[in-house]
């Protein structure tokens, strides 16, 4: 267990005792991961903000019940999943479907503006991911777009770790087949033509 882990355990203990600064420090440590997870699940920047707020509020209130049996980040992802599912029905109508994303590259729309200029290659990859069945797509998005660990993904999707591994394997295999079959990952024509 590294120093960071010790530091985190201490922070959790202080936060459980009601020390606001410790909780804020914990949130700071997990900010990027939490934000990415919220955005990957919500696919909407505003909803991601709400998910972050709601997750942290619930975490603060539930912190006394955190028993350390899993990593704090995994626990946070579990709360994030809970908040996501609570609001999902409401937001689903407004969220682009994977099919729509495949056709019109809506996925770019839920990325920050600075990603809007993503290359044609990136667009192809996103489209390939969007074409996956949802259970496979979510695992890929959480793993690669959000940078979540398998344990965090399991918490976020409320399924066993083995299931996450299996889904990730099958999702990657499908993407590999796409790469071979339809060359989705091939460099775009523009890219190729621009090369000397």
């Amino acid at each position: 267990v590294d120093v960071h882990q010790d530091d985190q355990c201490e922070l959790i203990g202080r936060a459980q005792a009601g020390e606001a600064a410790a909780f804020e420090r914990l949130a700071e440590q997990h900010a990027a991961r939490l934000w990415r997870g919220a955005l990957a699940l919500g696919r909407d920047r505003h909803w991601a903000e709400d998910l972050v707020q709601e997750t942290l509020l619930e975490a603060w209130r539930s912190l006394p019940r955190f028993d350390g049996r899993c990593r704090f980040s995994t626990w946070l992802y579990g709360i994030l999943r809970h908040r996501f599912l609570k609001g999902r029905r409401r937001h689903d109508a407004a969220r682009p479907s994977a099919a729509a994303a495949l056709e019109e590259d809506h996925l770019a729309a839920w990325l920050p503006d600075r990603c809007a200029e993503a290359s044609e290659d990136a667009r192809r990859v996103r489209q390939a991911v969007a074409s996956l069945p949802e259970e496979h797509r979510l695992v890929v998005e959480l793993r690669f777009f959000a940078g979540a660990t398998l344990e965090e993904i399991a918490a976020a999707l409320d399924c066993p770790l083995g299931t996450v591994k299996s889904r990730l394997h099958h999702a990657l295999e499908k993407l590999r087949q796409m790469k071979l079959a339809v060359n989705l990952f091939a460099p775009s024509r523009e890219t190729r033509e621009s090369k000397p």
């Binding site: 936060a15 606001a20 600064a21 909780f23 804020e24 914990l26 949130a27 700071e28 900010a31 990027a32 939490l34 934000w35 990415r36 955005l39 990957a40 909407d44 505003h46 909803w47 903000e49 709400d50 972050v52 707020q53 709601e54 942290l56 509020l57 603060w60 609570k86 609001g87 029905r89 409401r90 109508a93 407004a94 920050p112 600075r114 990603c115 993503a118 290659d121 990136a122 990859v125 996103r126 991911v129 890929v140 793993r143 690669f144 777009f145 959000a146 940078g147 660990t149 398998l150 591994k165 299996s166 990730l168 394997h169 990657l172 295999e173 993407l175 590999r176 790469k179 071979l180 990952f185």
Partner: protein, 503 residues
Amino acid sequence: MNDLLHPCEVWAEPISLAAAGCLSPDEEAEARRHIETCPACRERFRQLAEVCGALAELRLPVGDEELAVVRRAASAVSSGEARRSAVEWIRRVLGRRPRESHGPVFRTQRPFDWRWIMRHPASFASAAVFLFVIGGVALWFHGGGTTPALADFITPILEAKTVKFKFVGEIDGRITMRGVVMVLAPSRGRVEQEEISTKSKSVEITSSFGGKSILLVPDKKLAVVNQPINAPRDEAAKNFLGVLRSYLLDARDKADVRREPLGEKEIDGRRAVGFRLSGRGLHDPGWVMSLWGDPQTGEPIRIEKTDLMCPGKKVTMSDFVFNLDLDESLFSLEVPTGYKIVNIQSDLSLPNEKSLIETFRQYGRLSGGIFPDTLNWHLILLQIVNQGPKKQAVRPKSEERQNVNRREMKRGGDALETLREKFVGELGYRGIGFAVDLPPEADAHYAGKGVKLGAADTPIFWYRPKDAKKYRVIYADLSVRESATPPHVPNAQPVPAPASPKI
């Protein structure tokens, strides 16, 4: 592609996970040992590594802006910032961009008091005003969207024992009524109102949502006693605070609203901060609300609200007073002596397609066999009530209508009057309510303008039920057929109307 101990199939998943960087060091070392000895798996690993490399390049960026969101949220949660006044919180979130989404779900008890509406067709019925205010006050404290401190914002409302405020109702910018609303926690309400053009005054007293209410018209010595049926089974939803809690939770968990800052201005000599909220919900086809409050105290100064059910109508609430002394006798449901009592029962169940067909049918009977020009309830009311039904207008041609007319003739001249009263009080409202409550994805349209009741093969309304692939099409003979595609009718009106009313 094999070794004796581990067929390559066994290595498929570990190799995928290794490429994704999801194995422990020991697991990965073991997988790599196999990869080094198996050309086929080595090639597969190389391809997977390329895939994973391309995916990894798409990791969502997290910059200062995103980190700041998390920091602010954590700080707000732990420091108790959320417990500060609603206005402070509202100001904090005003910097956020508005979003496109659905609005809070209102549990509305619509006004079914036909006699009151008959006399005041241009009015907001008291129950509607009452509910507008609940929505308004709730949103005020709630902040109109998701908040980490919802429970904290509820507290001031739950602790308020009484509320009193003034309201003014307008139609297309013309003041049509005004009055005072009083609420005695947990569930009792009193509305004293005056219809401007007739100077007719009335008092409505409600015991609870879905419960008994009385409407007193002193000039006429008339008391309308309403005992609703099909009220929500949830007891909590029947009282003021229960509805309020339900509303707040719905607003937090089931819907959110569009928020736009309106800046600051002076209202009645006080500096006010304002913002505009809009949304729609299951029982509420759409609404727009402007909220102005005191940034110092966090209390509302003025709330203006319109809803899509009656475009052009607006109610403005002001002069809010909390926790004042209100005499219990103001909320008595006993009818004063000397009043003529009329008993009615309003139906609080959710309307459905049959309700709409019944609305069309009864409207046709009242109008002489035509359909409304539009599904604007306000305009329908004006046509039915102000202009009056064409009693001697077009004779019904269908056998059914002839039978209906014969039955009405037997009952005497009051039959049509009774039907009109029932239509205005409940039948009409429920059907129109069903139509305008449909969500945008239902793709509902109305094409009844100028169509005669009974016309064959003439679609007048269509929509796609939730999760259905086919449209339900109502024809002018009030038959219903399903169709894979919507009818092509030029000038069909979207329902509800797409434009939001402006405040």
